[in-house]
Symmetry: D2
Subunit: 296 residues, 4 copies
């Protein structure tokens, strides 16, 4: 599997009492992402509140997504688990239901050594045959994997075939490129870094933005691939205020609020996470309005 | 309930395949802690790998501890949950089995606002009638609660009656003292800060050290309470190398390794956490030897 | 004055006993930089060890540089002073000898408030009629100016007409662009960020690299301006190891060592700064060799 | 020379136009500090705006202070210089006028390696015969010396006999104590850490607080030495709001404003540093009033 382009992240919509998943809305957002130029779909990521779900819920979302996408693009299932055994259990499940790849982030309570992180991925890899995307996001997971460690795992662990870098540090991408002689495919997971990451050679952009601003992320990707730098810069600065907004207060809150403004009953994130405030919704509406104008 | 002194933290020992709890060993360590001058016992804290347990395991450990301690000292049950509903469910369970208090830390994936943290504690408080110890440990939980927020919750949320501060920043304790006019009881959770925290007015010390160095933590506490500063300083510097060792590589690893050296089959932490290396075990043995000499 | 492109930074070479300036060598390096496509020359910057010079030495270097460049390109004289009065004195001197602009960084001992920084620049501006480039480099100066403050000073202080951003944070450049609607010309001062800063809209690149790798920085700039992204990326990754080397151990040390390898008697930085080690010189030689090959 | 107790820091008062030193006021504040129990006087420190003075001014202040103190207590002259040669020049001058010791902080523009820092102190030591107090204050100087390096310099450089630690990190003091087996005398330079540093074994407290709150710092020191912990804690919490105020906005600003409130014409810090705002002066007045009451 050679991935590139826009990997889109759906939310996980809940019922009003938070106790179950709203699959109708999940289906609606999956279709929305497919229409907006997604080259792959990644359920159960940070956007999908993966860490906040019960095991049973996690399985339901994985099942539903694989069935709904139905091979139209690859499905990359997100796994964020404290223990190796739980991560293996989920990875095997993802494989059993036909996922195309897994994206794995080793969340921490006690800090992990590099050897512990290496073993975590190695043991998961040995338990499955799917490609693994290593997901580095120190701000949410509490674990920061160095480019050196990432390249080592790419070289030494069979199923590790790509990296998603969400630290927002462009120098990490330079290092991934240099240390692997350009062979390790890396994806950008920091929305406000999209232009520069693609300029620096990222294979694609992992983003929830297509939920709210349609095909614009794809347009940015295509401009860079076509070498049209002036156009890419213009497209990027147009969407940057929205990208900053999405990131600033936590992605699930922003995306759910924006979907509601679009008429999709996305509901709220799970408590203690709260929904967007009136001020945030007002700002979001104006950002969405300005994007509609751009597209017209 | 007026707590003070040494609040001791037991490990959660696992079977060799990591799949179940070793209750015989748990019982052994609880007796050890009671013999070593513990003024309270706090199962399912950071030392107890609370975040790594299934719900069922968490309940079993809570049950077993309350029954084993059997009122000899108060039992404070630890809760570390991402969602409000799960935290409430555990807090109610702790109350139902006769725990004396709950110690709660709001672990994060998406960063929480102060309002979200406040609501988290308020909603838990409304669901139970037990005293709540707020536990601040940014290094493990990814959430850092300011002294201002902690004092506000103490003032405005009924069951919040004490704070455990593990940030290791003595200025926070000064602020807790000043902002509450000395009324908020705060406990030190940073082992290498024990002397200074007690000098600054902490009500006690939350520590796993009595697992390995017996009554020495209690002796430090008693020296400070008696105003014997020179003695306290001497006792503190004697145990400081061990306290630094315990903290440096993750508490469960260190305590389990030390218990094994004492002949107690404490086993290993749960993967991806690993056991102590040979070099660590050698150092630990020499630290334990020097403590035995001190006591003789 | 509309600046763009490569702004080159000469070293300040000292005599062997550190007590005087070696003007012969200074002249040699100025010619070298002019041959390598410099669009402007900036003496007395971080590369030029400005902060380590006596007032008299600083004046001598300014004089000599203005006279030697002799209008072939603009000369931007660097000023890094703790007190407002000293900064004004130097700025007036620069104007009196015919400098084209001044680049000013407000070094700190006691942290400055935003108001203090604003006043510092305002008072200097009122004392001269030259354009001022504000230089933000928190790593060396201990002062970090926010994009908001930088744009405010651009808008409200007459002679402030451009910014050099050396924090290495691409998001700052996005903010400078957005907050000024693209009107504030900003230059990149972080060597390993050169590709992305230019892609994001920087007017140019402030760099000492032309001392060691000739026309390659200019070639990168020209590729981006021409919209040739693939070529720019290739050129950038070729010079990135050298850019990282230059930055990693302190620019004056690296540039002086590299000039010596090229046969120019650049000497050593001023103590306590030390010259490059044997290991560093060996690495530097191999980096320079690989660049020579690229150019052939 | 065996120092202990309270080392007091005078300001450097300027004339209204900032261009000269006001020696009358300097003399007044020196007498004030001597009356308030100072065990030593340290002119030209951070409080004394040492880094903001011309060489000539620095010499005048050193001269005047040595002559005014006239052997009543030791005088420790502060040196903060970027270059080794300038630092040596000042150290020799201090020795020539009869200073008892020098306190030296190696301010940075380019970061220094440990070897560079070591050499800096070694070369200064070889040029003089006075005791050297190494001053670690990363917040102002941009250089952070580890406890390991500090102890190494104490062991290996002849005239290095003591350390002033202003990082505010109590664990550093533990390390200085442990690494030197209690032999390296360390002084606390972080005002809000005074109680705990003394409890942990500091030889004394370097502070500008006696300028504003008279003998209270000395009273805290004496309580700890006498082993009266409850009394020490009470005295400390009484002065803590003032200590926090002094530190929060820059010491020279706070001390000069407070002296003015006491009727001493201390003037303003040197620009770009500004004087206290009306709000700050109002708060400071109320803090000083509450201290007057305490003393009555």
């Amino acid at each position: 599997m050679e991935l590139s382009g826009i990997i889109s992240y759906p939310i996980t919509p809940f019922s009003a009492d938070e106790r179950s998943i709203n699959f109708d809305v999940l289906g609606e957002t999956l279709e929305l992402l497919l229409q907006n130029g997604s080259d792959a779909i990644a359920p159960l990521g940070s956007t999908g509140e993966s860490a906040y779900l019960s095991l049973e819920e996690w399985r339901q979302v994985a099942d539903f997504t694989v069935k709904t996408v139905a091979g139209r693009v690859p499905v990359i299932v997100g796994i964020s688990e404290l223990t190796t055994l739980q991560a293996i259990s989920k990875a095997r499940y993802a494989q059993s239901i036909g996922a195309d790849a897994v994206m794995i982030i080793p969340v921490s309570y006690w800090k992990l050594t590099e050897q512990e992180i290496f073993n975590y991925y190695r043991e998961i890899s040995e338990a499955i045959s799917l490609p693994i995307m290593i997901y580095n996001n120190p701000a949410t997971s509490g674990i920061d994997m160095s480019p050196e460690l990432l390249v080592q795992m790419f070289n030494e662990i069979d199923n590790v075939t790509m990296v998603k870098e969400s630290s927002g540090d462009i120098q990490r991408m330079h290092k991934l490129y240099a240390l692997s002689s350009g062979k390790l495919p890396f994806f950008n997971g920091s929305n406000p870094l999209a232009l520069e990451a693609l300029c620096a050679g990222a294979s694609g952009w992992c983003t929830s933005a297509p939920n709210l601003i349609g095909q614009q992320p794809k347009a940015l990707y295509q401009s860079v691939v076509a070498g049209k730098l002036d156009e890419a810069r213009e497209i990027f600065y147009q969407q940057l205020p929205m990208l900053n907004f999405i990131v600033s207060g936590g992605i699930p809150k922003a995306i759910k609020a924006g979907l509601v403004l679009k008429g999709i009953s996305a509901g709220l994130p799970r408590r203690p996470l709260r929904g967007a405030t009136i001020a945030e919704i007002t700002l979001l509406q104006s950002l969405m309005d300005s994007h509609t104008e751009v597209v017209k």
